[in-house]
Amino acid sequence: MSKHHISTSINGESREFLCETRQTLLDVLRDELGMIGSKEGCSSGDCGACSVEVDGRLVCSCLVLGVEVDGKEISTIEGMADGENLHPLQTKFLEHAALQCGVCTPGFLVAAKSLLDRNPNPTETEVRYWLAGNLCRCTGYDKIVRAVMDAADEMRSAS
């Protein structure tokens, strides 16, 4: 079976890879590119642990085929910090203890960033519904929601 040659941009860097049709973007990121920050929790789009952005849209990378991203721009958790500076969301997740086991955390951060990029001043309800596709079994979501709201506050006052 011949593989597809895909050229894409990941976190602002040009990347090329070969993949079979059946491979998802998540498979490609983890198995072909060694980017293990996106996690596989369900493979059915129900847990959000594999969240990435493709051309600025938040998606589950388990529900995107690798072949579909030719020419597209992808953002993952690995590109969230700016050099040695953590993104305010990352800092706030740490300060608020918004993670326990941490396996859902990359997906939550990518999803939360996607929200704040669109809506810098979300209500608690907006945060909760935006993040409803990201499952966390450890925290009961309380500290996650607080961390996102606090990061939004801080980002607003910084800008």
Binding site: R22, R30, M35, I36, G37, S38, K39, E40, G41, C42, S43, S44, D46, C47, A49, T76, I77, E78, M80, A81, L86, Q90, F93, L94, E95, H96, A97, L99, Q100, C101, G102, V103, C104, T105, P106, L109, E124, T125, V127, R128, Y129, L131, A132, G133, N134, L135, C136, R137, C138, T139, G140, Y141, D142, K143, I144, V145, R146
Partner: protein, 757 residues
């Protein structure tokens, strides 16, 4: 050597503060490596073939076609694993029987549930492995199955195990049945007690099995070399447990197995067992290449966990002045395909929060054609305390008493004899009830279709074996090595206690979880034991390190060690020598360690006893849609005695997480089996764990009634918070609708049916 350590009395510098966890940056940047994130050169993909039948005799397994497929390197089934004799042991989450565990890992003569492993392959790619599974020819003789615990107890029920005879009953049964065991706890004479009661409530209750639903599926990587040396990377709650089970189930020398803990993406009790680790090891041994097995979500639901479901009858009697005089509970628990549900803890916890002189709790362990149950947060307690806390509410209502006052009148306290026997030492149950009573949440008004419920919960907490080493680096920083996998931020709490004891900066302590070759035996992470027991080890190791530090200062000052005191991270000569020597910091002592005897270190291995029991009391407000039966959680407040919160944020997090799981258990989580006995909802779409928009903020109040058996007063906190929500929600729904729901989950169709009754 006796330790001379002086702590600034009452003023703790690190304990009780909210520091950033040491592993935090790795986890917010995607660097942290969980089970599925490990790879080795030449690694193969392992996959497990699972039974599509709920109950079937395995007539034959033909592996030849799969073995012949290009890229397939090994195929194994039950016959390739050693036959294990029945042997009870206690090395993991509870008493287990190795024969059952072996058969649960890989079916032998019978497949006992949909999802039961029957064979496994290792291949060069995922696709080839999948194809190979389809080429394994398994001939089954499908047998009648039984899913419901009440059906399984009937005399004509399909029998899962021909050699299973009920234990704990007289006379000893002569016929095999699905009833594995009966236990009972209590004191006094319930019949006499009920005769004294003015009001009695009695009702049947049921709870559904619920999965721990950790977000990270089970994953392992195993590598066996030509010499037989085994290495395993596993996401588990205890790598020593993995080592012990793998050795036992494969008949290997423990000494030949090294298990490295990966980061673990949630466990809640469900990762206190092995499912795939021995399989990966055997596959690897067959082809001398590393084999990685990662379960998918469907496999997780079909073959791991859950907590048992239950059917219970609970009866409680009280006098009209509000004193509980008698209690009786009979709880029938679904063990899954093999015996071993948590009937012991269920029987002991059911009435534990209350002082009742005449009380009895019976637990019955029943096998059914479902996955074998595993521990899940306070295992046994939620399903036992839900009926009792519901009945307490009902009684309070009948007596016209406030449910908190009624509980206060009957609450156990220091010196009370528990319903399961022993007398309670220092506990903080009453304090949690008082805190609820005085909380503003308890005073606020409610609107139409809204209701408020309260409920309490108890869990023992445990100690156990832990090892810890403190190594001082030459720059004065410290590495703390422990053997407890960190599932909820324990590295932070352990580092805090280590820093506090040594008197150095928290950031100077780097905690590390050692593999099975790097640190001494440590019991698994569970039972809310790590902050207590491994915490105790971290403190004792730090104290031993202080002894070493004092010795080094004594050498440098050329005085006897008894004349050196350790205060806030600094060695001080006692008064008589204070003019001659300047105090020395840990950093200064570390810099000179080469000339005083080499590296400075402290080590301890202990078996911690004296875990302090935990109590919590919760209050929950709901609104019920009278036309659809949908329940919305409007507000939730959880109060818990934590003994002392080492890292308050993670204590709150444990409480909030437990509450969310309890709400899921109460409202929507359930297993749905079809007529063929196949699981119909093995995914997060239809196994409905609470999502972010389902919940309000979960307010927490930490009460601190210190555990006298721990230097900082720690009690375990992880287990208790899942116990009260089941009844708190049920009691709130009753308050909103006037209908008492006794069957979980209280999903919209059930609530609507109750309203429309």
């Amino acid at each position: 050597m006796d330790t001379k350590v002086k702590q600034s009395q009452g003023k703790l510098k690190w304990v009780g503060t909210r520091q950033v966890r040491p592993d935090g940056v790795d986890k917010v940047t995607g660097r942290a490596r969980f089970g599925a994130d490990y790879s080795l050169p030449g690694m193969l993909v392992g996959k497990v073939l699972r039974s599509p039948h709920a109950h079937a005799r395995i007539i034959s397994i033909d592996k030849s076609k799969a073995e012949a497929l290009d890229g397939v390197k090994a195929v194994v089934s039950g016959e390739d694993f050693p036959d294990i004799a029945k042997e009870e042991a206690f090395i993991g989450e509870g008493p287990i029987n190795f024969r059952y565990m072996a058969h649960n890992m890989m079916a032998r003569d019978k497949a006992l549930y949909d999802g039961h492993a029957v064979a496994a392959v290792a291949a060069t790619s995922e696709e080839i492995a999948q194809k190979a599974l389809a080429l394994i020819d398994v001939q089954y003789e499908v047998l009648p199955h039984v899913i419901d615990v009440r059906d399984a107890m009937k005399p004509d029920a399909p029998i899962l195990h021909d050699d299973l005879f009920t234990e704990g009953v007289t006379p000893e049964p002569t016929r095999a049945s699905n009833i594995a065991k009966q236990v009972e706890f209590g004191r006094g004479d319930p019949d006499a007690g009920f005769a004294k009661a003015d009001v009695i409530v009695e009702r049947d209750y049921s709870t559904q099995p619920v999965h721990q639903a950790y977000i990270e599926p089970h994953a392992t990587l195993a590598s066996v070399d030509e010499e037989g040396k085994c290495q395993v990377w596993a996401s588990s709650q205890g790598h020593f447990m993995v080592r012990a089970y793998c050795a036992k189930l494969l008949g290997l020398d423990l000494a030949n197995i090294k298990v490295t803990p990966t980061e673990i993406g949630g466990g809640f009790g469900g990762k206190t067992l092995v499912y795939i680790e021995p399989v990966a090891l055997l596959l690897s041994r067959r082809c001398s290449r590393p084999v990685k097995i990662v379960m998918d979500r469907e496999e997780v639901f079909r073959s791991t966990g859950p907590a048992p479901g239950s059917h219970s009858t609970v009866k409680i009697g009280a006098t009209k002045d509000g004193k509980i005089v008698a209690g009786y509970a009979e709880m029938r628990l679904q063990a899954g395909a093999y015996p071993g549900s948590q009937i012991g803890p269920a029987g002991m916890t059911a009435f534990a929060p209350y002082e009742i002189e005449d009380v009895k709790a019976v637990g019955i362990d029943v096998v059914v054609n479902r996955p074998k149950v595993a521990a899940y947060r306070a295992p046994g307690a939620p399903l036992a305390e839900f009926p009792v806390e519901s009945a307490i509410d009902e009684l309070a209502d009948k007596l016209g008493m406030d449910p908190i006052e009624f509980r206060l009148k009957n609450a156990v306290k220091e010196g009370t004899q528990s319903c399961y026997g022993p007398v309670f030492q220092k506990i903080g149950f009453i304090e949690t009830l008082e805190a609820v009573k005085n909380h503003d949440h308890y005073q606020t008004k409610l609107g139409p279709n809204q209701g408020r419920g309260v409920a309490s919960g108890f869990w023992f907490n445990i100690g156990g074996e832990s090892t810890a080493t403190v190594n001082v680096n030459e720059d004065g920083s410290v590495v703390l090595i422990v053997g407890s996998p960190d599932i909820g931020g324990s590295r932070a709490s352990l580092a805090l206690m280590c820093a506090e004891t040594l008197g150095i900066d928290y950031k100077q302590v780097r905690p590390l979880i050692g593999d099975t070759d790097a640190i001494g035996y440590t019991f698994l992470t569970g039972g809310s034991r790590v902050t207590f027991a491994t915490g105790l080890a971290a403190i004792e190791a730090a104290k031993n390190c202080i002894d070493d530090l004092r010795k080094r200062a004594a050498i440098l000052w050329d005085i006897d060690v008894s004349n050196v005191e350790w205060r806030d991270g600094v060695a001080h000569p006692v008064d008589a020598y204070s003019d001659e020597h300047e105090p020395m910091t840990l950093k200064q002592l570390a810099a000179q360690s080469a000339k005083t005897g080499g590296p400075i270190t402290g080590h301890i291995a202990l078996n911690a006893e004296g875990a302090g029991p935990g109590f919590g009391s919760h209050v929950c407000d709901v609104e019920v849609d009278p036309e659809t039966g949908r329940v919305e959680i409007l507000r939730y407040t959880a109060v818990q005695d934590a003994g002392r919160a080492i890292h308050p944020s993670y204590v709150e997090g444990q409480i909030q997480g437990g509450v969310a799981q309890g709400i899921g258990w109460a409202l929507n989580e359930e297993y749905i089996y079809n007529a063929e006995g196949r699981l119909d909802n093995p995914g997060f779409l239809d196994y409905r764990v609470p999502v972010c928009s389902d919940l309000p903020m979960i307010d927490t109040v930490i009460v601190e009634v210190e555990n006298p058996n721990h230097p900082y007063g720690v009690r375990g906190v992880g287990e208790v918070p899942i116990v009260p929500p089941l009844a708190a929600v049920a009691n709130a729904i009753e308050a909103a609708t006037g209908k008492r729901l006794a069957d979980l989950p209280m999903s919209p169709p059930k609530v609507l049916a109750a309203i429309d009754e």
